[in-house]
Symmetry: C2
Subunit: 476 residues, 2 copies
Amino acid sequence: MSPDSAADLMQGPLAIAHLGLDDVINGARSSGVPVTQVEFQPPAGGDPKRLRKLSELYKPKIAKAIEQANQQALEKLLAGQPQLIGVGVARELIPDMQADLFLHAGPPIEWERMSGPLRGAVIGGILLEGLAKTPAQAEKLAAAGKVSFEPCHHHQCVGPMAGLVTSSMPVWIIEDKNSGRRSFCTLNEGLGKVLRYGAYSPEVIERLGFMADILAPILSETLQAHGPVDLKMLMAQALQMGDEGHNRNRAGTSLLIRELAPAMVRLKRDSSDISRVLEFIHSNDHFFLNLSMPMAKCILSGVEDVPFSSMLSVMARNGTDFGIQLACMPGRWFIGPAQDIEGLYFPGFSKDDANPDIGDSTIMETVGIGGFSMAAAPAIVQFVGGTAEDALETTRRMGQITIGRNPVWTIPQLGFAGAPTGIDLQKVVEFNLLPAINTGIAHREPGIGQVGAGLTLPPWECFYAAFDAFYEHCRH
Amino acid sequence: MSPDSAADLMQGPLAIAHLGLDDVINGARSSGVPVTQVEFQPPAGGDPKRLRKLSELYKPKIAKAIEQANQQALEKLLAGQPQLIGVGVARELIPDMQADLFLHAGPPIEWERMSGPLRGAVIGGILLEGLAKTPAQAEKLAAAGKVSFEPCHHHQCVGPMAGLVTSSMPVWIIEDKNSGRRSFCTLNEGLGKVLRYGAYSPEVIERLGFMADILAPILSETLQAHGPVDLKMLMAQALQMGDEGHNRNRAGTSLLIRELAPAMVRLKRDSSDISRVLEFIHSNDHFFLNLSMPMAKCILSGVEDVPFSSMLSVMARNGTDFGIQLACMPGRWFIGPAQDIEGLYFPGFSKDDANPDIGDSTIMETVGIGGFSMAAAPAIVQFVGGTAEDALETTRRMGQITIGRNPVWTIPQLGFAGAPTGIDLQKVVEFNLLPAINTGIAHREPGIGQVGAGLTLPPWECFYAAFDAFYEHCRH
């Protein structure tokens, strides 16, 4: 603005658009001058130490190293070719699996700090494995340290909600076509009272029996007959059909059924068992989630160990803590408290019943699906009373904190732009913008199950802790 | 604008925004005054006679009768409850079906005026029915008047593209839950060389044999075991999953497979036949179109005979003519020439190979699906190089020429607004706005098949003819 026009401006009545702290402008405001406050947050939450670190990371030499590392991580992410190749049993497939080892969602946690739904799932798992006969006995056993707990992520596994994996459970086998790298996930149990939401009643255990005895063998034989299924392409098609791949998996599940049914029917198997399997999958629109999650894990395990990359390789919650990992420091957790969820509740339940955020399913957002691809699923905004425009806006916003776009996972609603992919820790901190997460809601007590679904955010704590560690990593 | 401010306006340099005929403003333009021409067309294409008729129809007494009739027609349309109840054989089910009667798409037409793809389909139908042994014999037979031709629509039938129905063909049976009113359609043959696109080679006839001998009986038994399928709900779900229900039917086909597969597997049938049926449906994303078309016909046959209603009850093309019918004058055709299609062509084909618009599938647009629900299927705009915004705009525009919205068929991308439903002839003429149609493109020669897909419009002739007749109808 030239001095002249600034002078011109002051000739009219004074009005102020203010960007900054309230206190600075309160004098003008109290004199009756109209003040419009511009929404603004300084970078890095305005913390002077973090701001200084951020500036350091922008020095040309370091910035260039980070940029190159992130491009390398992005290339690795986009090069992933995850295929569904089979179904097997956890103890025979998962690295270092043991009879008394219980894998769970999220970062490491001991029994004492476990939330209700995770405890409920552990009780169910102990009953399933025959280590105890009653829930009370099972709880005593767990509290006495008679079983070990480790995160799924430490064993190339992911699990939705409680994410419990025990040695006898059937698991999907996902393999990267190029590297042979594998990941695993249990099969989705369906809706209502299910182990992953912390329910362990006889119907839950009985259903797990059907899954191990009938569902898994039939799927295993079907895949042997059919050959590998390209999950990345299936996900791409589902995004064109209104799935965002986390809270909505109706298209993915439908596409899986039509892909596998012809081969399944040809099996030398009792036709009523095959029918039951098809009915079981048909009755559960989230069946595909337990395939897309290990697909995402298989892709993201390929970006581990890229020094100087600020890309996230893991986001996961155990119902108590939210943990993240970085591509440059594989295996190291950065932790914060699991958050509440904004959502819609099933009839008879409310926010008071809800457990904080739980599950490994945030691997979907970590790879660019779920909240990041919200624009693909305008129907999902019904969950939270939003609009189709909100869904577009969420995906646009996530584009600010990601390293690139996935050209295979395109979103028709955004002119076939690729899904925003590869969360950049540095951008999250700089823009004060947390990853948007879609998720289910578990009851806080063990034994009950799902009570709703909605949207949430990770805690800042884990991002700030990761940022401090990333800063140290880059300095050395 | 007050006189003062008008005077103020004239003090600055002159610029003109002009709405009307070029000639009026050419004087100013040649004097160097900048002129912005506003896009404008007078109502009813500016034809003085039609304008006068339009004014007559707006006289309170007639306008009220039309308004009430249209609301009644809309209620009837929305009350439709079309269900898929079975599969049977044309000669046993279709009213007044005969061994030598060949039903075809669109308004009535004799052999001499038939386009290539319709002729090709007739040749194929004659071969299929064993009335001739070679295509040359079949052609001679058809030319000699040895078979009769009538529109599908005269027999509660609809057929995509050539729409040929012969007496031995299997047909879907759709029944309105409340009235018992029925409609029929053949089963979709798949892609490539198929009868409906005018191909009649041995592979085409062989496939029709498989459909009659294996596909249809298995589907018939499956539906007996499964019970009726609510097609209106299935269509509603498909709209939430990226189908617009005419050029894209991937979701509808997927949902049908997962719905029927469990019951199909339980049939006492050879498992390799069941597998072949599932594979056949899986291999053809348009399989659902032959269900949604008779669904639409079943709904729209419920709005026939509503005096004074300007709602369209039929739009259909035979490849030579485009015909429409009105709810107030059931059975009476208004005709114009079938139009060219703007679209994408399969490799090796171009616009020169294309037959004009053909098929009864415009019944989808007539009921509010297809071009009218384009907003639900942003992926479809790839066909014509458009954007997701174009898709939204098409549905918004069609809202201007429809009588209401269908609350069951909601479009997430437009804030769950209902599909614009019930085309209003009077609004089409008044706003100079033709219904948007999505469609496949057939080769103009018999025997070749599909060469592309795209968008088109009906000819004005049939709308103007219908409007003149509607005017006479309302005056008496």
